[in-house]
Chain length 362, copies 4
């Protein structure tokens, strides 16, 4: 049973492998009549692109995307939008040494175990390269959302290694994170992080990080109980993202130590809308948005691709030593920032259309 | 677009409200010819039942379930299995005071915002009561799994408030957690927790907790990239569970501070199988099981239902004071233990059948 | 992969076997706030019930249905509506002789071949008994439709054996078919049919028939290209119905002999709406409704259950002679009339909600 | 809610418009390790291509397809197979006159009514051009089927206008239909049809036809009750195909005049398998294959695109006269033959994998 899609009303199917001729996405269910800003899609792809910072993979990805269908005279037609992105700027030779050796921390063995065959160049389908069509699809989702709502979605790096931003999510400005080459909205601690990354790059090592995301101005009522809850759907796409090992919403794991009295957010009435005084719930109760900002965090492990020598085995079970060559991210969390935003936009857009189908306009 | 189901090949649809005449589940895709152990389903339901410990809701749930279809002469027929559980032992009068008042931390307002109407008795569809049919369906999923694999699934309470178990997941024995009235496998710290719960119960307050779950003897190759990954699917159902605010797999959020060299698990060959020396990945790489134990943790907030007085508003936006009466769990994480196991079994069973469909037997 | 549901936004899952304790349906995605007319559901169930005419099965089905969830104070809540219908009035002993013998024309062998096990009482899951929950769900779908649109759905028997009604679909009145015990809107030919049925009943034989259905006042724009077209979805549910061997829309198979010039319907403008002068297309072009009445026909084979002796084999391949006892329909097309209406209502309701989700209100 | 896919385990999503830069399909769930015969895909595309016969559209479609993903060293990898076919050889100017005029018998108005916007060039998404990626996907489905089963699928033209083949389905040889430029396996009547088509072409008119399809050597047990029955799924894709107005299986509509005694097929035992002496059921009972050949027929209306003058209206409701220029099929049933085979292969392949998932190997 295939698992290449997210969304039900606004559905994105992603195909391709890292070093095939191209990769792409098919978007189904996009509402008709939305004027597409192609420039904006390009910009989002540029944000994700390796090479923007020296701490992300040096692979030159031009990401010249084409829209092959579903748009007529600049507007969406309601029929599938097919996006194609050419694969360029890679060197297959970097990967011949892994055709029969399992890289530690990578999906080489699991793909082999599942399918009995795998496209090993660049990790094939398990590569973070596949997030490019996700970002393009997310940009379109965001444009659909914006055509009817004032919802905003902003992600940024909250922590790298043990260095965390000093500000709270509610005081992060878009300009703060966009102004940083590592999407880190705290100027002061940024320097320390840059030093850390510099050192790790020299050592041929890598490090983990946390991305935080805030979805604001979202109407109450989005999310489908019992099983397609808004937080459940966000968790699914985020944990499914390359290198992610954890997801939390609102105060997350720290809620464990609080009593009910401490943790409950007090409902109140603001300008005709129900809001809560605090936001421990992270904007979601019973799996449905409550009108407060949705706040969640995603934990990324260190890139497993490091040039330092590691022990492993090959396909025959023989011990091998491996040094993963090629240009790799020192911290994947950085490049994940626009991807987290894109996935959020897809989930929110899908739930807006689902809501409209069952309950009418919102 | 409805969201009442989990699973695609082994699919469970749950219907009902806390205080309706009954609740239930329809299981589709169950393989034919599996001898059902009805006693075992009962036992699982008993474990989830309030009243097992004095720190979970005192509601008397008999949970006499009936299987209405899909079983013939004791064996599954491959057609839908309909499970019905009568709702009993509740007092609707406990809830008349919340018909127009939003309980803090509950889904009262979000259901109202979504549907414009809500069954307020006992929280209606948002009640943890709905986990009873999940547990019954999970027991059947586990029996299907066991008919062909030696997979084991074990959950237990790892932490309540700030008191954590002292043992590591790999040394927890089934008997340790089953022997504890609060499913906590550390005899020493258990006493401290019991004191904490006793105090909170007296105060009319509640507390959060963490449940850990280990899925062992699972074959490599389960999970569907790009979007129906095994960890993504587990995250979705766990985060979608009542009161959950976080999910992590393997070393989870703590991976953030590790370098690639520290975090990568070294592949090795054990008895003809690929395994890893450490298990930071928690048994999943690239969204696919790698044959090591799957280990994940779920963070539960404190039950929002507390008898202490809280400020809130009513449906008209007027300020109100509320004290949530009735018998409520001091710590919902306790009762969630069999539910986490049940949801895990459903996800694993579904992926086993998906694997068999696409790739043949495993 | 289970196939027990129809619809995506308005989704109906049907469970149960002919002679189990009960059968039922779970309706997901029903819009909230619709006042349910329970009496009307009962009436629809009565129309389907054997015993209404002496030419349908004599089994006494009380069809006392219960709504177990999803309705609060008489209104739908937007959450799943679970319907339960008790199985009564049957005699299991009629079926012991078929536990190991395959009835000709029945699904006995195919269920055995698929699942390796089958509930043989009354045909188990393959029984037309399962259309009862479909009729109940269809009645609810129709009420949802009527809460917002003036769409009407009317089916009737058009032909039994070689005796056909003399009137055209556009001049059939609801009262004509409701006034007939066999839902046949042509008083004159009705007598001839009744004689035919009388004779067949005496002989212990049965006969086929055609049901025609007209969906009127349907807005243009319903149906999803490329694969969930409105005619495709109707074809799927109708051909999937017990004993159906053919489906056609508009002029159907007779279109084959017409030229393009003869067959094309001329568009014209009526009261501000686009209509066509003729309706060879049957109200659907490119899989999408065009605002004209949707007209389709469904061909039912003769009930395979006949008391005349037939040759067959048993589960071991040994030749056997069989006479199917019990009360059986002389012509299943009669009892299928409300089922065809119910399935149509479910398909239309689903497409209305799908349309609203993607394109806004209609 | 999008409807651009068929299949659940073997899933094909088709995107594109007639006169966009390209069209394509994404195949998900293809089993890994199948050696792909690319030449065979080309051949199937050539059979569908206009220009093969002078009675199908004269548009020159090169149909040079590319496989962009999912294949590694000539074998399928189990990940999505993306197929791209360039659109060439068309003249957009043929269509400027229909930008605001509704062609009779076409989907121009219904797309406008649904989406409020439409790509009018060549009919956009409603064009039969979209059957090219279906044929490519079907060729791959057939290769997957053949890698494990000896199932054969053969379609041919049974009737055009009022001229029908004189042979029965069970005596049609593959060579007979492949040897005919119009896929008509009856040499004698072929001449008469060719004369008819010649005349219609001169007049600028068109004609309908029936395609019959036989699926042989299919194992018993495929098809999912209650709603994803094998005949229901075939009906859905066939009726959803351009210009189709009817579908029947086995003896189809003619079953109506037969009694149960006449219509029931007698089960018998042949070489260890259950078969039936006659095949009125068309190889399907209760929606599940019974091991006999599956036989069905599909009725195609005459191409609505004719050069003879017709009355119609424009987007403003004003009367217009239209003559549809460009090269168009005299009888679309001809070109539909490989499409019917392709859709059948996709449905069968999907059900084989669904069966394997739930019930094990077949």
């Amino acid at each position: 049973m295939p698992g290449d899609s997210i969304g039900l009303m606004f559905k994105v199917t992603v195909w391709g492998e890292s070093h095939g001729s191209s990769i792409g996405a098919v978007i189904e269910g996009c509402p008709p009549g939305v004027e597409l800003d192609v420039e904006n899609i390009s910009e989002q792809l540029k944000r994700r692109k390796p090479g923007g910072s020296k701490f992300v993979s040096g692979r030159v990805e031009q990401d010249n995307f084409e829209i092959l269908s579903g748009v007529f005279h600049g507007k969406t037609t309601g029929t599938p939008i097919s996006i194609l992105i050419k694969n360029q700027g890679f060197n297959k030779e970097n990967y011949t040494n892994i055709s029969e050796v399992f890289r530690p921390g990578h999906a080489d063995y699991t793909y082999q175990a599942k399918y009995g065959i795998r496209d090993f160049y660049g990790g094939g389908r398990s590569s973070a390269r596949l997030t490019a069509p996700i970002v393009a699809a997310g940009a379109i989702a965001m444009q659909v959302i914006s055509s009817q709502n004032s919802i905003t979605i902003q992600a940024y790096v909250k922590k790298i290694g043990n260095i965390e931003m000093n500000t709270n999510w509610c005081s992060v400005k878009k300009s703060d994170s966009l102004g940083s080459s590592i999407f880190f909205p705290d100027k002061q601690n940024e320097k320390e992080i840059l030093r850390l990354l510099e050192n790790l790059k020299e050592e041929g090592n890598s490090i983990g990080g946390i991305v935080e995301c805030v979805i604001d101005n979202i109407p109450a009522g989005l999310g489908e109980p019992l099983f397609d809850k808004l937080d459940g759907d966000l968790a699914k796409v985020m944990v499914g993202l390359n290198a992610v090992k954890g997801f939390e919403v609102g105060n997350g794991f720290s809620c464990v130590e609080l009593t009910g009295l401490e943790n409950n957010d007090e409902p109140t009435f603001v300008d005709g809308d129900v809001k809560t005084l605090s936001n421990n719930s992270g904007g979601i109760l019973g799996g449905i948005s409550n009108g407060n900002p949705i706040v969640f965090r995603v934990a990324f492990k260190a890139t497993p691709s490091i040039s330092q020598k590691q022990n492993t085995i090959d396909i025959k079970g023989k011990k091998q030593e491996i040094s993963v060559t090629g240009d790799h991210d020192v911290c994947v969390a950085i490049r994940a920032v626009p991807v987290v935003e894109a996935l959020s936009a897809i989930v929110v857009c899908d739930h807006l259309l689902r809501f409209r189908g069952q309950c009418g306009n919102k």
